[in-house]
């Protein structure tokens, strides 16, 4: 491609990006921009009221806290290891600075990469743990790093710390003012990145995984991989903050990166607002105010302020948690919206272009699953043809749900094989099966409590994306934006199929049970499946909802989907099914191509 053509394309892409940004500009964005501007000029306005080195330390703390916001706010994972990542970045950068002549900014980057490595390992270790165990595990990691620094003087420099040579930073004399401005810029960029990620596939998937693991797993969300990525990204930012802060401090201090730092960073995130991009920064400012209060209390009591500070921080955190978790930034946004409600979001009603339907046959041969002496499933074989509905019926305990779980990958079979077209699925994970074209809805009608109806469907489309990676999302490449438009169109089409298009912007929590059932079907459809496994969709449905479901299944058959329907409602089965398999004690008792009841 000629240089001129490249320039034209780039210009077009930039204009598109600017237009997109203007479209999605909100009052919050304006407030954030003003806040960043004020932060940049703060040293000149404050006139020495707060020393520049204190401001710079605070800026790097805000950067580390914003990084932690990735884990806590985006992934919903309570990491208490951010202090360890900051410390890793600091000490690696310090050693590189001492042992090489590399530029200061590169040394900080190397520190960040080392921290990301540790974060990746930590994320891998806790990838499938619940929140409590994650908190405990990461807390132990922080202690491990702190103890290692204390026990290894060659690593930490001992009580005197590791003195760091002073080197120009981005060509500038590394004064505290330069460090402060750099910290502000990096924190702003990181917050911007948080916003971009939250709105993109990565953020949606993480939000879904944090709000309902089962439902997210059913939609093929690669939760464990995402959690590892979140840890690594969070640690990278923390390590970058550490690698720069150590150059401000001119000494890597082994006492500065212990559990207390991890605790303070978590307090900052929770108090400021984990879900808000600038919430952690606000939390750091609140910590600064606490520091002043601690100093005043210490002066009154005649003891050091450091005795009061952790206590006050803990009290503040308790207050935030026990009053319903209303952090500062979300509370401020809520208060602002009372005076100036958010304008209605721009309609996404683009022409719905449904993805080409995939027509594949699912074959399961001699599936078996035993739980001890009990055979839940024994020698079950079935074939799901495109454009047909196969109903699986039987009394409670006959093995219907077990068959669904074996087919979807939630349970590994003890025997048998599963094929989708020519591809064998038997050993694939649920997420891999969803990508291959096999998806399931859950009986319990779970939903992602904080997402809108539209965002639910979008979670499904993430399985089909090629250009939705983290980096492309951050940079908002033309391919990402183009694919985004397609994904949104497909999500809307899925909502139209199930009759929820008009509810697109409503919170999913406002839907009825039947509405949520249809929403999960829409999310499953958004994954562009060839095979859909549906578990008792008619349970508790009113007559008009049943009619809706019948119409949906008829439409899906027409589209060429192969559907396996587990049901107790025989009338519903008769209305929609092309074939009925009856299970009894884990075996196929009968197989009827035309249902007769």
């Amino acid at each position: 491609m000629s240089a001129q053509a490249t320039a034209v394309r780039t210009g077009t892409a930039v204009r598109e990006a600017v237009a997109t940004a203007r479209q999605s500009w909100t009052d919050s964005a304006t407030a954030a921009g003003v806040a960043v501007g004020l932060a940049v000029i703060a040293p000149f306005v404050l006139g020495g009221l707060i020393a520049n080195d204190s401001l710079a330390s605070g800026a790097y703390l805000a950067l580390a806290a914003t990084g932690l916001g990735l884990c806590v706010g985006l992934a919903g994972v309570p990491s208490l290891a951010q202090g360890a990542f900051v410390g890793t970045g600091a000490f690696v950068a310090a050693h590189v600075l001492r042992d090489t002549q590399l530029p200061a900014e590169l040394c900080a980057l190397i520190g960040a990469i080392a921290a990301a490595g540790l974060g990746t390992a930590a994320g891998f270790a806790v990838r499938s743990l619940d929140s409590v165990r994650v908190a405990v595990g990461t807390w132990l990691l922080t202690w491990l790093v702190a103890l290692a620094l204390g026990a290894l003087p060659w690593l930490s420099g001992g009580a005197q710390g590791l003195v760091v040579p002073t080197r120009r930073l981005f060509g500038l004399n590394p004064t505290p003012l330069v460090h402060y401005e750099l910290g502000v810029v990096l924190t702003g960029l990181c917050a911007l990145g948080l916003v971009a990620l939250r709105r993109g596939p990565f953020g949606l998937d993480l939000a879904a995984a944090s709000q309902h693991r089962g439902a997210a797993a059913a939609l093929g969300v690669p939760m464990e991989r995402l959690r590892v990525v979140a840890f690594a990204a969070s640690a990278f930012v923390g390590g970058l903050a550490g690698g720069l802060a150590v150059q401000l401090d001119i000494v890597a201090d082994p006492t500065a990166y212990g559990p207390l730092l991890s605790f303070e960073l978590l307090v900052a995130v929770l108090v400021g607002g984990a879900a808000a991009a600038f919430g952690p920064s606000v939390g750091v400012i609140v910590l600064g105010l606490i520091s002043l209060a601690a100093r005043a209390l210490g002066a009154l009591a005649g003891v050091s302020a450091s005795r009061f500070q952790p206590m006050l921080e803990a009290l503040l955190l308790l207050a935030v948690l026990t009053t319903g978790g209303y952090a500062f930034v979300p509370a401020a946004i809520r208060a602002a919206r009372r005076f100036r409600p958010a304008p209605p979001r721009a309609s996404r009603r683009t022409a719905a272009a449904a993805p080409p339907s995939r027509r594949e046959t699912l074959r399961a041969h001699d599936l078996a699953k035993h739980f001890g002496a009990v055979s839940a499933v024994d020698g079950v074989s079935l074939e799901l043809q495109p454009g047909t509905v196969t109903a699986l019926v039987g009394p409670n305990g006959s093995g219907k749900t077990t068959v669904l779980r074996l087919l979807s990958g939630a349970l590994p079979p003890d025997d048998g094989a599963i094929y989708l077209g020519r591809q064998e699925l038997t050993s694939l994970t649920t997420a891999e099966r969803v990508r291959a074209g096999l998806v399931r809805t859950l009986q319990s009608r779970p939903f992602f409590g904080e997402l809108s109806v539209f965002e639910h469907a979008l979670v499904g489309t993430n399985r089909t994306r090629r250009y939705g990676g983290t980096v492309r999302t951050l940079v908002s490449t033309p391919l990402f934006r183009a694919e985004n438009r397609i994904a949104e169109a497909h999500a809307f089409a899925a909502l139209e199929t199930v009759g929820l298009a008009r509810e697109a912007d409503r919170p999913a929590s406002e839907l009825t049970g039947s509405g949520r059932e249809r929403l999960m079907i829409a999310a499953a459809l958004a994954t562009n499946p060839a095979v859909l496994l549906v578990d008792e969709p008619s349970a508790g449905a009113a007559p008009e909802d049943l009619e809706l479901l019948k119409a949906i299944f008829t439409r899906l058959k027409t589209d060429g989907l192969a559907i396996l329907l587990v049901e107790h409602n025989l009338a519903f089965v008769r209305a929609v099914a092309d074939q009925v398999l009856a299970l009894e004690l884990g075996r196929v008792a009968s197989r009827e191509p035309n249902p007769r009841l």
Binding site: A51, D53, P153, G158, A159, Q160, V251
Partner: protein, 407 residues
């Protein structure tokens, strides 16, 4: 006539008063920043802070003049919490506030000296004795008035080896212990036959019986413990509770009230504990020290150890407060020599002036030496009934009087 005289006298008083106030308005400030671990080690922090404050108050009472101006000393206490990064932040603050000097326990000096040196601000270490902290050639603004690890280690070796003891060297895993271990390695380098074992004491261990047993099995006939007060106390407990009456020698950590507090239930276990420290009195006799101690106690009260000797409360003499006290007096002399507080001139003058220290000893530095306590001024004292007295079997110590430690 009388009335006129009265008025004239009154007017003269007024004139004098006016003159005073106008000269008072020319009063300038010498800011001395104390950067010490007040929160983490209150005993050390307050000792240093009080020593500086006492000297400042005494100098302010006398009116310090230099270069035609009067000076008043102001003391600013900052807590470094044993953190080098905090020490750097405190040094930056000291520079912002135009400090004339910084007095520290030694935390973070490896990082702070360069910052302070950029503005020619002297730093005086008043506690840590580690090697490498002070070097007049490479760190021209760093001074120390405190016994050095080198001095303590060599004096201990000089004292113990002639006794033909088999010494187990025990050092804890703190930086204090490890630096002491290095100093002892240097002192005992040519005396392998005198060393029965070299053992590390884990600071976090609640019981040091295994390490003490290891020392006993090595055939040691004496323990030389270089550790912080808690580890030292645990070592004594481990030895004595096992019925081992081995003589125990140690560093100034032995003088820390914590050791006696931990052993308050077994005062006899403290008997015989011998420690090395900087001498409190000098060749001029105990009078200067007594004056200093009285002034210190008037200003800050006595520091009670929390134990009793023959039924009377034991106090801790403020010996380590002498060092920062002496430095402030040296600083005042340097300001007078420099005729002002020009930092470069004051720093240069510190290499030239000398004063009589709190104990009467001459204190001073020069371009080749920034150590205010020579190795030979290390003495030894032994505990008996919770108070200590100089030993009689060391040439220096035998010349020193016992300091009264009960009230």
């Amino acid at each position: 006539m009388r009335a006129t005289a009265t008025v004239l006298v009154a007017l003269s008083f007024v004139a004098t008063g006016c003159g005073h106030s106008s000269s008072a308005s020319k009063q300038q400030t010498i800011l001395v920043v104390v950067d010490a671990p007040f929160s983490q080690s209150p005993y050390i922090g307050n000792t240093i802070g009080n020593g500086v404050r006492l000297a400042a108050e005494q100098l302010n009472a006398q009116t310090l003049s230099a270069g035609g101006a009067n000076y008043r000393l102001r003391v600013l206490r900052l807590d470094n919490a044993l953190s080098p990064a905090k020490a750097v932040a405190d040094t930056r603050r000291a520079l912002r506030e135009h400090a004339t000097a910084i007095v520290t326990d030694g935390t973070g000096v490896d990082a702070t000296w360069r910052l302070a040196n950029s503005k020619h601000i002297p730093i005086c270490i008043a506690y840590q004795g580690g090697g490498g902290l002070v070097n007049p050639q490479t760190r021209p603004n760093v001074f120390r008035i405190a016994p050095t690890d080198h001095g303590l280690a060599f004096r201990l070796a000089e004292y113990l080896v002639p006794k033909r003891l088999k010494i187990a060297l025990l050092a804890d895993d703190s930086d204090y212990g490890q630096e002491g271990k290095a100093a002892l390695a240097d002192a005992f380098r040519t005396l392998p036959k005198s060393v029965a074992a070299r053992i590390t004491l884990p600071s976090s261990a609640s019981d040091l019986a295994p390490q003490v047993l290891q020392a006993r099995r090595s055939g040691a006939t004496a323990l030389l413990v270089w550790a912080q007060a808690p580890a030292l106390a645990k070592t004594i407990v481990a030895a004595r509770s096992a019925g081992w009456s081995v003589p125990i020698y140690t560093t100034p950590a032995g003088e820390d009230p914590f050791v006696r507090q931990q052993l308050a239930d077994h005062p006899s276990w403290v008997d015989g504990l011998t420690f090395a420290s900087g001498r409190m009195t000098a060749e001029l006799g105990p009078a200067p020290w007594a004056t200093f101690e009285a002034a210190y106690e008037t200003a800050f009260g006595t520091t009670t150890v929390g134990v009793k000797s023959h039924g009377r409360p034991v106090i801790a003499p403020p010996d380590y407060a002498m060092y920062p006290y002496d430095f402030v007096n040296l600083l005042a002399a340097a300001v007078q020599q420099a005729k002002g507080t020009n930092p470069a001139k004051v720093l240069a003058a510190l290499n030239q002036v000398s004063t009589h220290g709190a104990n009467g000893d001459e204190r001073g530095f020069n371009e080749r030496n920034h150590e205010g306590v020579v190795d030979d001024d290390v003495y030894f004292a032994r505990f008996s009934h919770m108070v200590f007295r100089p030993v009689r079997d060391d040439p220096l110590s035998s010349t020193l009087p016992q300091i009264n430690q009960v009230r």
